[in-house]
Amino acid sequence: MDKILRNRKAVLVFLLPALLVYVFTVLAPILWSMYFSFFSWDGVSDMVYIGLDNYTKMFGGDKTFWKAFSNNLIYVFIIVAMQVFLGLLVAILLTSITKGRELFKTLYFAPAIITSVAIAQLFTSVYSFEPVGMLNFILQQLGLGAWSKPWLSDLKWALGAVSVPEGWRYIGLYMIILYTALLSIPSDIEEAARIDGASSWDLFWSIKMPLIKPVLTVSIIMATTGALKGFDIPYLMTNGGPGRVTELLPTYMYKTAFSSLDFGYGSAMAVFIVIESLIAVAFIRRMMESKET
Protein backbone atom coordinates (compact mmCIF):
# COMPACT_ATOMS: atom_id res chain seq x y z
CA MET A 1 0.00 0.00 0.00
CA ASP A 2 2.62 2.42 1.15
CA LYS A 3 4.72 1.65 -1.87
CA ILE A 4 1.88 2.37 -4.22
CA LEU A 5 1.18 5.71 -2.56
CA ARG A 6 4.83 6.68 -2.77
CA ASN A 7 5.00 6.03 -6.50
CA ARG A 8 7.13 8.99 -7.63
CA LYS A 9 6.22 8.69 -11.25
CA ALA A 10 2.51 8.73 -10.48
CA VAL A 11 2.95 11.81 -8.29
CA LEU A 12 4.50 13.60 -11.24
CA VAL A 13 1.89 12.40 -13.71
CA PHE A 14 -0.92 13.63 -11.46
CA LEU A 15 0.65 16.87 -10.36
CA LEU A 16 2.54 18.20 -13.35
CA PRO A 17 -0.33 19.35 -15.61
CA ALA A 18 -1.84 21.53 -12.89
CA LEU A 19 1.51 22.78 -11.68
CA LEU A 20 2.78 23.72 -15.14
CA VAL A 21 -0.31 25.68 -16.14
CA TYR A 22 -0.47 27.36 -12.75
CA VAL A 23 3.19 28.35 -12.75
CA PHE A 24 3.10 29.72 -16.29
CA THR A 25 -0.16 31.63 -16.04
CA VAL A 26 -0.21 32.80 -12.43
CA LEU A 27 3.07 32.58 -10.51
CA ALA A 28 5.73 33.39 -13.09
CA PRO A 29 3.81 36.38 -14.51
CA ILE A 30 3.87 38.01 -11.07
CA LEU A 31 7.66 37.79 -11.05
CA TRP A 32 7.80 39.06 -14.63
CA SER A 33 5.62 42.01 -13.65
CA MET A 34 8.02 42.88 -10.85
CA TYR A 35 10.91 42.58 -13.25
CA PHE A 36 9.26 44.71 -15.96
CA SER A 37 8.52 47.42 -13.40
CA PHE A 38 12.24 48.34 -13.37
CA PHE A 39 12.30 49.04 -17.09
CA SER A 40 11.09 51.58 -19.57
CA TRP A 41 9.51 49.58 -22.33
CA ASP A 42 6.85 49.97 -25.02
CA GLY A 43 6.77 46.26 -25.85
CA VAL A 44 8.47 46.76 -29.22
CA SER A 45 11.82 48.53 -28.87
CA ASP A 46 14.58 47.46 -26.47
CA MET A 47 13.92 47.40 -22.76
CA VAL A 48 15.82 50.09 -20.90
CA TYR A 49 16.70 49.49 -17.25
CA ILE A 50 15.68 52.52 -15.22
CA GLY A 51 15.84 51.19 -11.66
CA LEU A 52 13.19 52.63 -9.40
CA ASP A 53 12.24 55.48 -11.74
CA ASN A 54 8.76 54.08 -12.40
CA TYR A 55 8.12 53.95 -8.67
CA THR A 56 9.43 57.44 -7.96
CA LYS A 57 7.32 58.75 -10.82
CA MET A 58 4.29 56.92 -9.46
CA PHE A 59 4.61 58.13 -5.87
CA GLY A 60 6.21 61.47 -6.60
CA GLY A 61 5.02 63.19 -9.70
CA ASP A 62 1.96 61.47 -11.08
CA LYS A 63 -1.19 63.33 -10.09
CA THR A 64 -3.41 60.90 -11.98
CA PHE A 65 -2.01 58.04 -9.90
CA TRP A 66 -3.01 59.75 -6.67
CA LYS A 67 -6.37 60.74 -8.11
CA ALA A 68 -7.00 57.12 -9.08
CA PHE A 69 -5.82 55.99 -5.66
CA SER A 70 -8.19 58.28 -3.75
CA ASN A 71 -11.06 57.42 -6.12
CA ASN A 72 -10.33 53.79 -5.41
CA LEU A 73 -10.68 54.35 -1.65
CA ILE A 74 -14.11 55.92 -2.15
CA TYR A 75 -15.03 53.05 -4.47
CA VAL A 76 -13.95 50.56 -1.77
CA PHE A 77 -15.96 52.39 0.86
CA ILE A 78 -19.20 52.39 -1.16
CA ILE A 79 -18.82 48.76 -2.16
CA VAL A 80 -18.02 47.48 1.33
CA ALA A 81 -20.94 49.46 2.73
CA MET A 82 -23.31 47.95 0.17
CA GLN A 83 -22.04 44.40 0.11
CA VAL A 84 -21.25 43.79 3.75
CA PHE A 85 -23.59 46.13 5.62
CA LEU A 86 -26.60 45.88 3.32
CA GLY A 87 -25.80 42.18 2.94
CA LEU A 88 -25.86 41.80 6.74
CA LEU A 89 -29.09 43.77 7.00
CA VAL A 90 -30.78 41.55 4.43
CA ALA A 91 -29.38 38.44 6.14
CA ILE A 92 -30.92 39.55 9.43
CA LEU A 93 -34.22 40.28 7.71
CA LEU A 94 -34.11 36.85 6.14
CA THR A 95 -33.81 35.14 9.53
CA SER A 96 -37.11 36.80 10.46
CA ILE A 97 -39.00 35.54 7.41
CA THR A 98 -40.66 32.20 7.84
CA LYS A 99 -41.93 31.45 4.35
CA GLY A 100 -40.11 31.45 1.04
CA ARG A 101 -36.54 31.76 2.33
CA GLU A 102 -35.13 29.54 -0.39
CA LEU A 103 -36.83 31.45 -3.17
CA PHE A 104 -35.73 34.74 -1.63
CA LYS A 105 -32.11 33.56 -1.47
CA THR A 106 -32.19 32.26 -5.04
CA LEU A 107 -33.61 35.46 -6.50
CA TYR A 108 -31.43 37.73 -4.41
CA PHE A 109 -28.29 36.00 -5.62
CA ALA A 110 -29.27 36.15 -9.31
CA PRO A 111 -27.41 39.37 -10.27
CA ALA A 112 -24.12 37.72 -9.23
CA ILE A 113 -24.24 35.35 -12.19
CA ILE A 114 -24.54 37.99 -14.91
CA THR A 115 -21.58 39.23 -16.90
CA SER A 116 -20.26 42.67 -15.95
CA VAL A 117 -20.70 43.84 -19.54
CA ALA A 118 -24.46 43.30 -19.27
CA ILE A 119 -24.56 44.93 -15.84
CA ALA A 120 -22.62 47.94 -17.10
CA GLN A 121 -25.07 48.37 -19.98
CA LEU A 122 -28.07 47.89 -17.73
CA PHE A 123 -26.91 50.62 -15.35
CA THR A 124 -25.90 52.93 -18.16
CA SER A 125 -29.53 52.94 -19.21
CA VAL A 126 -30.77 53.19 -15.61
CA TYR A 127 -28.72 56.38 -15.19
CA SER A 128 -29.57 57.78 -18.60
CA PHE A 129 -30.85 61.36 -18.78
CA GLU A 130 -31.88 61.58 -22.42
CA PRO A 131 -33.90 59.44 -23.08
CA VAL A 132 -34.95 59.44 -19.47
CA GLY A 133 -33.68 56.36 -17.60
CA MET A 134 -35.25 54.44 -14.75
CA LEU A 135 -33.60 56.42 -11.96
CA ASN A 136 -34.38 59.88 -13.31
CA PHE A 137 -37.90 58.80 -14.18
CA ILE A 138 -38.57 57.58 -10.65
CA LEU A 139 -37.16 60.81 -9.23
CA GLN A 140 -39.49 62.81 -11.46
CA GLN A 141 -42.48 60.72 -10.44
CA LEU A 142 -41.61 61.30 -6.79
CA GLY A 143 -41.60 65.03 -7.42
CA LEU A 144 -37.82 65.15 -7.10
CA GLY A 145 -37.30 66.07 -10.75
CA ALA A 146 -34.82 68.75 -9.72
CA TRP A 147 -32.46 65.97 -8.61
CA SER A 148 -32.50 64.20 -11.93
CA LYS A 149 -29.24 64.54 -13.81
CA PRO A 150 -26.99 62.71 -16.26
CA TRP A 151 -25.37 60.74 -13.44
CA LEU A 152 -22.45 59.31 -15.39
CA SER A 153 -21.27 62.61 -16.79
CA ASP A 154 -21.86 64.62 -13.63
CA LEU A 155 -18.46 65.39 -12.09
CA LYS A 156 -19.78 65.12 -8.53
CA TRP A 157 -21.86 61.97 -8.89
CA ALA A 158 -20.11 59.87 -11.54
CA LEU A 159 -17.82 58.04 -9.10
CA GLY A 160 -20.75 57.08 -6.89
CA ALA A 161 -22.75 56.08 -9.93
CA VAL A 162 -20.11 53.65 -11.21
CA SER A 163 -19.60 52.18 -7.72
CA VAL A 164 -23.21 51.21 -7.08
CA PRO A 165 -23.59 48.50 -9.77
CA GLU A 166 -20.60 46.52 -8.45
CA GLY A 167 -21.96 46.78 -4.91
CA TRP A 168 -25.46 45.84 -6.04
CA ARG A 169 -24.55 42.70 -7.98
CA TYR A 170 -22.87 40.95 -5.04
CA ILE A 171 -25.13 41.94 -2.12
CA GLY A 172 -26.72 38.50 -2.48
CA LEU A 173 -23.37 36.71 -2.19
CA TYR A 174 -22.52 38.41 1.10
CA MET A 175 -26.09 38.07 2.31
CA ILE A 176 -25.84 34.29 1.93
CA ILE A 177 -22.43 34.07 3.61
CA LEU A 178 -23.61 36.14 6.58
CA TYR A 179 -26.99 34.42 6.72
CA THR A 180 -25.27 31.04 6.96
CA ALA A 181 -23.14 32.40 9.79
CA LEU A 182 -26.22 33.71 11.64
CA LEU A 183 -27.99 30.38 11.24
CA SER A 184 -25.06 28.50 12.70
CA ILE A 185 -25.49 30.24 16.06
CA PRO A 186 -26.95 27.60 18.39
CA SER A 187 -30.49 28.52 19.40
CA ASP A 188 -29.94 27.72 23.08
CA ILE A 189 -27.52 30.66 23.35
CA GLU A 190 -30.30 32.89 22.08
CA GLU A 191 -32.87 31.39 24.44
CA ALA A 192 -30.60 31.73 27.46
CA ALA A 193 -30.06 35.41 26.66
CA ARG A 194 -33.81 35.93 26.24
CA ILE A 195 -34.47 34.39 29.64
CA ASP A 196 -31.91 36.77 31.10
CA GLY A 197 -34.00 39.58 29.67
CA ALA A 198 -31.96 40.61 26.64
CA SER A 199 -33.79 42.72 24.05
CA SER A 200 -33.52 41.92 20.33
CA TRP A 201 -31.06 44.75 20.04
CA ASP A 202 -28.85 43.52 22.94
CA LEU A 203 -29.06 40.05 21.55
CA PHE A 204 -27.82 41.24 18.22
CA TRP A 205 -25.00 43.52 19.40
CA SER A 206 -23.68 41.61 22.38
CA ILE A 207 -24.23 38.03 21.27
CA LYS A 208 -24.73 37.55 17.57
CA MET A 209 -22.22 40.10 16.30
CA PRO A 210 -19.29 38.71 18.30
CA LEU A 211 -20.21 35.19 17.22
CA ILE A 212 -20.27 36.00 13.51
CA LYS A 213 -17.27 38.30 13.69
CA PRO A 214 -14.81 35.93 12.01
CA VAL A 215 -17.16 35.61 9.03
CA LEU A 216 -17.74 39.35 9.04
CA THR A 217 -13.98 39.93 8.95
CA VAL A 218 -13.56 37.61 5.99
CA SER A 219 -16.46 39.34 4.21
CA ILE A 220 -14.96 42.78 4.70
CA ILE A 221 -11.59 41.52 3.44
CA MET A 222 -13.19 39.97 0.36
CA ALA A 223 -15.27 43.03 -0.45
CA THR A 224 -12.26 45.33 0.04
CA THR A 225 -9.80 43.35 -2.03
CA GLY A 226 -12.49 42.87 -4.67
CA ALA A 227 -13.05 46.61 -4.87
CA LEU A 228 -9.31 47.36 -4.96
CA LYS A 229 -9.19 45.26 -8.14
CA GLY A 230 -12.34 46.93 -9.47
CA PHE A 231 -12.13 47.21 -13.20
CA ASP A 232 -14.86 45.92 -15.51
CA ILE A 233 -17.80 48.14 -14.66
CA PRO A 234 -16.03 51.53 -14.35
CA TYR A 235 -14.00 50.74 -17.47
CA LEU A 236 -17.11 49.86 -19.45
CA MET A 237 -19.40 52.58 -18.15
CA THR A 238 -17.16 55.65 -18.20
CA ASN A 239 -13.64 54.46 -19.03
CA GLY A 240 -12.38 56.60 -16.14
CA GLY A 241 -14.08 59.77 -17.29
CA PRO A 242 -15.35 62.43 -17.35
CA GLY A 243 -11.88 63.83 -16.88
CA ARG A 244 -10.43 61.44 -14.33
CA VAL A 245 -13.27 61.45 -11.82
CA THR A 246 -14.00 57.72 -12.10
CA GLU A 247 -10.43 56.58 -12.77
CA LEU A 248 -9.40 53.68 -10.51
CA LEU A 249 -5.92 52.20 -10.20
CA PRO A 250 -6.75 49.13 -12.29
CA THR A 251 -8.33 51.20 -15.08
CA TYR A 252 -5.38 53.60 -15.06
CA MET A 253 -2.94 50.70 -15.08
CA TYR A 254 -4.80 49.10 -17.98
CA LYS A 255 -4.81 52.26 -20.06
CA THR A 256 -1.16 52.94 -19.28
CA ALA A 257 -0.16 49.50 -20.49
CA PHE A 258 -2.51 48.82 -23.37
CA SER A 259 -3.36 52.28 -24.72
CA SER A 260 -0.19 54.26 -23.95
CA LEU A 261 1.95 51.12 -24.38
CA ASP A 262 4.00 51.95 -21.31
CA PHE A 263 4.47 48.39 -20.07
CA GLY A 264 7.11 49.23 -17.47
CA TYR A 265 5.02 51.86 -15.73
CA GLY A 266 1.88 49.73 -16.04
CA SER A 267 3.73 46.84 -14.38
CA ALA A 268 4.80 49.08 -11.51
CA MET A 269 1.14 49.94 -10.93
CA ALA A 270 0.14 46.27 -11.14
CA VAL A 271 2.72 45.46 -8.49
CA PHE A 272 1.35 48.30 -6.38
CA ILE A 273 -2.18 46.83 -6.63
CA VAL A 274 -0.93 43.51 -5.22
CA ILE A 275 0.97 45.15 -2.36
CA GLU A 276 -1.94 47.44 -1.59
CA SER A 277 -4.27 44.42 -1.35
CA LEU A 278 -1.89 42.64 1.02
CA ILE A 279 -1.63 45.73 3.22
CA ALA A 280 -5.41 46.10 3.24
CA VAL A 281 -5.86 42.49 4.38
CA ALA A 282 -3.34 42.92 7.20
CA PHE A 283 -4.92 46.22 8.23
CA ILE A 284 -8.49 44.87 8.33
CA ARG A 285 -7.43 41.80 10.33
CA ARG A 286 -5.64 43.95 12.84
CA MET A 287 -8.56 46.37 13.15
CA MET A 288 -11.15 43.65 13.62
CA GLU A 289 -9.02 41.81 16.17
CA SER A 290 -8.21 44.84 18.28
CA LYS A 291 -11.91 45.62 18.63
CA GLU A 292 -12.36 42.30 20.36
CA THR A 293 -10.58 43.29 23.57
Binding site: V21, T25, I30, L93, V117, L173
Partner: protein, 277 residues
Amino acid sequence: MNYSRYSKAFLAVISFALLIIQVYPLVWVFISSFKAPTDFSSSNPLSLPSKFTFENYLSVWRKGNLGTYFSNSLIVAVTTIVLVILFSAMAAFVIEKMRFKWAQSVLFLFLCGIMIPIQVVLIPLFILYNKTGIINTLTSLILPQVGFALPISIYLFVSFYKYISNEIMEAAVMDGCGIYQVFWRMIFPLSRNTIVTVVVMNLIFIWNEFIFANTFIHDLSSRTIPVGLMDYIGQYGLTDWGATYAAISITTIPTMLVYFIFNKSVISGMTAGATKG
Protein backbone atom coordinates in the same frame (compact mmCIF):
# COMPACT_ATOMS: atom_id res chain seq x y z
CA MET B 1 -36.16 35.03 16.47
CA ASN B 2 -39.15 36.08 18.49
CA TYR B 3 -40.63 39.17 16.96
CA SER B 4 -44.07 40.60 17.59
CA ARG B 5 -46.58 40.16 14.82
CA TYR B 6 -46.34 43.79 13.74
CA SER B 7 -42.58 43.93 13.56
CA LYS B 8 -42.70 40.66 11.65
CA ALA B 9 -45.04 42.13 9.05
CA PHE B 10 -42.88 45.24 8.89
CA LEU B 11 -39.72 43.21 8.31
CA ALA B 12 -41.46 41.16 5.64
CA VAL B 13 -42.44 44.33 3.80
CA ILE B 14 -38.90 45.68 3.93
CA SER B 15 -37.49 42.38 2.72
CA PHE B 16 -39.91 42.33 -0.14
CA ALA B 17 -39.06 45.92 -1.12
CA LEU B 18 -35.33 45.09 -1.10
CA LEU B 19 -35.98 42.00 -3.18
CA ILE B 20 -37.73 44.11 -5.79
CA ILE B 21 -34.83 46.57 -5.96
CA GLN B 22 -32.49 43.63 -6.41
CA VAL B 23 -34.41 41.70 -9.03
CA TYR B 24 -36.50 44.27 -10.88
CA PRO B 25 -33.67 45.58 -13.13
CA LEU B 26 -33.18 42.08 -14.51
CA VAL B 27 -36.88 41.61 -15.17
CA TRP B 28 -36.96 45.06 -16.71
CA VAL B 29 -34.19 44.17 -19.21
CA PHE B 30 -36.21 41.16 -20.28
CA ILE B 31 -39.45 43.14 -20.66
CA SER B 32 -37.68 45.94 -22.52
CA SER B 33 -36.23 43.49 -25.01
CA PHE B 34 -39.73 43.21 -26.51
CA LYS B 35 -40.25 46.94 -26.94
CA ALA B 36 -40.56 48.65 -30.30
CA PRO B 37 -38.09 51.48 -31.12
CA THR B 38 -40.84 54.06 -30.61
CA ASP B 39 -41.31 52.84 -27.04
CA PHE B 40 -37.76 53.87 -26.19
CA SER B 41 -38.35 57.47 -27.14
CA SER B 42 -41.42 57.63 -24.90
CA SER B 43 -40.97 59.32 -21.57
CA ASN B 44 -41.75 56.34 -19.38
CA PRO B 45 -38.94 53.74 -19.22
CA LEU B 46 -40.97 51.60 -16.82
CA SER B 47 -43.92 51.13 -19.17
CA LEU B 48 -44.73 47.78 -20.70
CA PRO B 49 -44.14 47.39 -24.45
CA SER B 50 -46.97 48.97 -26.45
CA LYS B 51 -47.05 45.70 -28.33
CA PHE B 52 -44.75 42.72 -27.89
CA THR B 53 -42.38 42.54 -30.82
CA PHE B 54 -39.60 40.10 -31.63
CA GLU B 55 -38.03 42.70 -33.91
CA ASN B 56 -35.11 43.24 -31.50
CA TYR B 57 -34.30 39.55 -31.42
CA LEU B 58 -34.42 39.44 -35.21
CA SER B 59 -32.10 42.44 -35.48
CA VAL B 60 -29.64 40.79 -33.07
CA TRP B 61 -29.83 37.68 -35.18
CA ARG B 62 -29.31 39.64 -38.42
CA LYS B 63 -26.16 41.25 -37.07
CA GLY B 64 -25.02 37.68 -37.30
CA ASN B 65 -22.04 37.58 -35.00
CA LEU B 66 -23.82 36.36 -31.93
CA GLY B 67 -23.71 32.78 -33.20
CA THR B 68 -19.92 32.99 -33.55
CA TYR B 69 -19.57 34.50 -30.08
CA PHE B 70 -21.76 31.78 -28.65
CA SER B 71 -19.73 28.98 -30.15
CA ASN B 72 -16.46 30.64 -29.09
CA SER B 73 -17.73 30.99 -25.53
CA LEU B 74 -18.87 27.39 -25.57
CA ILE B 75 -15.51 26.09 -26.84
CA VAL B 76 -13.61 28.12 -24.25
CA ALA B 77 -15.93 27.11 -21.41
CA VAL B 78 -16.02 23.40 -22.20
CA THR B 79 -12.28 23.06 -22.82
CA THR B 80 -11.37 25.09 -19.77
CA ILE B 81 -13.72 23.17 -17.49
CA VAL B 82 -12.61 19.74 -18.69
CA LEU B 83 -8.97 20.70 -18.09
CA VAL B 84 -9.72 22.29 -14.72
CA ILE B 85 -11.62 19.23 -13.49
CA LEU B 86 -8.94 16.75 -14.60
CA PHE B 87 -5.95 18.78 -13.44
CA SER B 88 -7.40 19.82 -10.10
CA ALA B 89 -8.81 16.40 -9.20
CA MET B 90 -5.45 14.77 -10.00
CA ALA B 91 -3.39 17.36 -8.16
CA ALA B 92 -5.69 17.25 -5.12
CA PHE B 93 -5.36 13.46 -5.06
CA VAL B 94 -1.58 13.72 -4.81
CA ILE B 95 -1.79 16.44 -2.18
CA GLU B 96 -4.32 14.72 0.04
CA LYS B 97 -3.86 11.00 -0.50
CA MET B 98 -0.37 10.19 -1.74
CA ARG B 99 2.71 10.11 0.46
CA PHE B 100 4.53 13.03 -0.96
CA LYS B 101 6.85 15.15 1.14
CA TRP B 102 6.04 18.53 -0.40
CA ALA B 103 2.28 18.08 -0.40
CA GLN B 104 1.52 20.86 2.07
CA SER B 105 3.89 23.33 0.40
CA VAL B 106 2.38 22.61 -3.00
CA LEU B 107 -1.12 23.14 -1.58
CA PHE B 108 -0.03 26.41 -0.02
CA LEU B 109 1.46 27.53 -3.32
CA PHE B 110 -1.83 26.83 -5.08
CA LEU B 111 -3.93 28.51 -2.41
CA CYS B 112 -1.88 31.71 -2.73
CA GLY B 113 -3.42 31.99 -6.18
CA ILE B 114 -6.85 32.75 -4.70
CA MET B 115 -5.59 36.17 -3.59
CA ILE B 116 -3.81 37.20 -6.77
CA PRO B 117 -5.48 39.96 -8.76
CA ILE B 118 -5.77 39.22 -12.46
CA GLN B 119 -4.33 42.63 -13.37
CA VAL B 120 -0.85 41.66 -12.28
CA VAL B 121 -0.55 38.91 -14.90
CA LEU B 122 -2.10 40.78 -17.81
CA ILE B 123 0.99 42.55 -19.12
CA PRO B 124 3.38 39.56 -18.92
CA LEU B 125 0.82 37.20 -20.45
CA PHE B 126 0.04 39.67 -23.23
CA ILE B 127 3.74 39.88 -24.08
CA LEU B 128 4.25 36.12 -23.80
CA TYR B 129 1.22 35.31 -25.96
CA ASN B 130 2.22 37.91 -28.50
CA LYS B 131 5.67 36.34 -28.82
CA THR B 132 4.38 32.79 -29.06
CA GLY B 133 1.67 33.78 -31.50
CA ILE B 134 -1.27 32.48 -29.51
CA ILE B 135 -2.66 35.97 -29.03
CA ASN B 136 -6.06 36.32 -30.70
CA THR B 137 -6.71 32.59 -30.40
CA LEU B 138 -9.05 30.87 -27.99
CA THR B 139 -6.01 29.18 -26.42
CA SER B 140 -4.96 32.56 -25.01
CA LEU B 141 -8.25 32.60 -23.09
CA ILE B 142 -8.25 28.96 -22.04
CA LEU B 143 -4.75 28.79 -20.52
CA PRO B 144 -5.00 31.66 -18.01
CA GLN B 145 -8.54 30.72 -17.05
CA VAL B 146 -7.43 27.18 -16.23
CA GLY B 147 -4.59 28.69 -14.18
CA PHE B 148 -6.85 31.00 -12.20
CA ALA B 149 -9.56 28.37 -11.68
CA LEU B 150 -7.12 25.80 -10.27
CA PRO B 151 -6.61 27.18 -6.74
CA ILE B 152 -10.23 27.12 -5.62
CA SER B 153 -10.97 23.90 -7.51
CA ILE B 154 -8.03 22.13 -5.91
CA TYR B 155 -9.17 23.45 -2.56
CA LEU B 156 -12.66 22.01 -3.08
CA PHE B 157 -11.31 18.60 -4.17
CA VAL B 158 -8.84 18.46 -1.27
CA SER B 159 -11.64 19.21 1.22
CA PHE B 160 -13.69 16.41 -0.28
CA TYR B 161 -10.85 13.85 -0.38
CA LYS B 162 -10.33 14.35 3.35
CA TYR B 163 -13.61 12.51 3.87
CA ILE B 164 -12.62 9.48 1.80
CA SER B 165 -11.16 6.95 4.21
CA ASN B 166 -7.83 5.40 3.45
CA GLU B 167 -9.25 1.95 4.23
CA ILE B 168 -11.34 1.77 1.09
CA MET B 169 -8.27 2.69 -0.93
CA GLU B 170 -6.36 -0.04 0.83
CA ALA B 171 -9.09 -2.53 0.06
CA ALA B 172 -8.92 -1.61 -3.60
CA VAL B 173 -5.16 -2.02 -3.62
CA MET B 174 -5.53 -5.43 -1.94
CA ASP B 175 -7.82 -6.38 -4.80
CA GLY B 176 -5.02 -5.56 -7.17
CA CYS B 177 -5.68 -1.99 -8.26
CA GLY B 178 -2.71 0.14 -9.21
CA ILE B 179 -2.52 3.80 -8.27
CA TYR B 180 -4.04 4.98 -11.55
CA GLN B 181 -6.95 2.61 -11.20
CA VAL B 182 -7.55 3.70 -7.62
CA PHE B 183 -7.89 7.24 -8.87
CA TRP B 184 -9.87 6.69 -12.08
CA ARG B 185 -12.09 3.86 -10.96
CA MET B 186 -12.72 4.88 -7.39
CA ILE B 187 -11.75 8.35 -6.22
CA PHE B 188 -12.76 10.29 -9.31
CA PRO B 189 -16.24 8.73 -9.68
CA LEU B 190 -16.82 9.16 -5.93
CA SER B 191 -16.26 12.89 -6.21
CA ARG B 192 -19.31 13.44 -8.40
CA ASN B 193 -20.82 16.13 -6.16
CA THR B 194 -17.59 18.10 -5.96
CA ILE B 195 -17.25 17.84 -9.73
CA VAL B 196 -20.72 19.32 -10.20
CA THR B 197 -19.89 22.21 -7.86
CA VAL B 198 -16.61 22.93 -9.60
CA VAL B 199 -18.25 22.73 -13.03
CA VAL B 200 -21.15 25.09 -12.38
CA MET B 201 -19.07 27.58 -10.41
CA ASN B 202 -16.39 27.77 -13.09
CA LEU B 203 -18.89 27.72 -15.93
CA ILE B 204 -20.41 30.97 -14.70
CA PHE B 205 -17.05 32.67 -14.11
CA ILE B 206 -15.71 31.55 -17.49
CA TRP B 207 -18.87 32.40 -19.42
CA ASN B 208 -18.73 35.93 -17.98
CA GLU B 209 -14.97 36.51 -18.18
CA PHE B 210 -14.18 39.93 -19.60
CA ILE B 211 -10.62 41.17 -18.94
CA PHE B 212 -8.67 38.39 -20.66
CA ALA B 213 -11.07 38.38 -23.60
CA ASN B 214 -10.85 42.15 -23.95
CA THR B 215 -7.04 42.14 -23.78
CA PHE B 216 -6.01 39.08 -25.75
CA ILE B 217 -8.66 38.98 -28.48
CA HIS B 218 -8.89 41.59 -31.22
CA ASP B 219 -10.38 39.55 -34.03
CA LEU B 220 -14.12 39.63 -34.40
CA SER B 221 -14.07 35.92 -35.16
CA SER B 222 -12.45 34.92 -31.85
CA ARG B 223 -14.58 37.06 -29.58
CA THR B 224 -16.55 35.59 -26.74
CA ILE B 225 -19.98 36.69 -25.60
CA PRO B 226 -19.07 39.35 -22.99
CA VAL B 227 -16.84 41.24 -25.42
CA GLY B 228 -19.28 40.62 -28.25
CA LEU B 229 -22.04 42.25 -26.22
CA MET B 230 -20.17 45.51 -26.61
CA ASP B 231 -21.15 45.50 -30.31
CA TYR B 232 -24.51 46.78 -29.26
CA ILE B 233 -23.22 49.89 -27.58
CA GLY B 234 -22.73 52.51 -30.22
CA GLN B 235 -20.07 55.10 -29.86
CA TYR B 236 -21.09 58.55 -28.67
CA GLY B 237 -24.28 57.32 -27.10
CA LEU B 238 -25.90 55.97 -30.26
CA THR B 239 -27.18 52.81 -28.74
CA ASP B 240 -29.71 50.41 -30.16
CA TRP B 241 -31.31 49.78 -26.78
CA GLY B 242 -33.84 47.26 -28.01
CA ALA B 243 -31.14 45.10 -29.60
CA THR B 244 -28.93 45.58 -26.53
CA TYR B 245 -31.60 44.26 -24.18
CA ALA B 246 -32.39 41.40 -26.53
CA ALA B 247 -28.70 40.48 -26.75
CA ILE B 248 -28.33 40.66 -22.96
CA SER B 249 -31.39 38.46 -22.52
CA ILE B 250 -30.20 35.85 -25.02
CA THR B 251 -26.69 35.68 -23.61
CA THR B 252 -27.82 35.56 -20.00
CA ILE B 253 -30.28 32.72 -20.50
CA PRO B 254 -27.63 29.93 -20.42
CA THR B 255 -26.19 31.08 -17.08
CA MET B 256 -29.68 31.60 -15.68
CA LEU B 257 -30.68 28.07 -16.69
CA VAL B 258 -27.58 26.57 -15.13
CA TYR B 259 -28.19 28.67 -12.06
CA PHE B 260 -31.83 27.75 -11.56
CA ILE B 261 -31.14 24.04 -12.12
CA PHE B 262 -28.05 23.83 -9.93
CA ASN B 263 -28.57 26.81 -7.68
CA LYS B 264 -27.38 25.03 -4.52
CA SER B 265 -24.09 24.03 -6.15
CA VAL B 266 -23.60 27.45 -7.70
CA ILE B 267 -24.14 29.24 -4.41
CA SER B 268 -22.04 26.83 -2.36
CA GLY B 269 -19.26 26.95 -4.94
CA MET B 270 -19.23 30.71 -5.23
CA THR B 271 -19.38 31.30 -1.49
CA ALA B 272 -16.55 28.80 -1.00
CA GLY B 273 -14.62 30.55 -3.74
CA ALA B 274 -15.20 33.84 -2.06
CA THR B 275 -14.64 32.97 1.60
CA LYS B 276 -11.28 31.32 1.09
CA GLY B 277 -9.84 34.57 -0.24
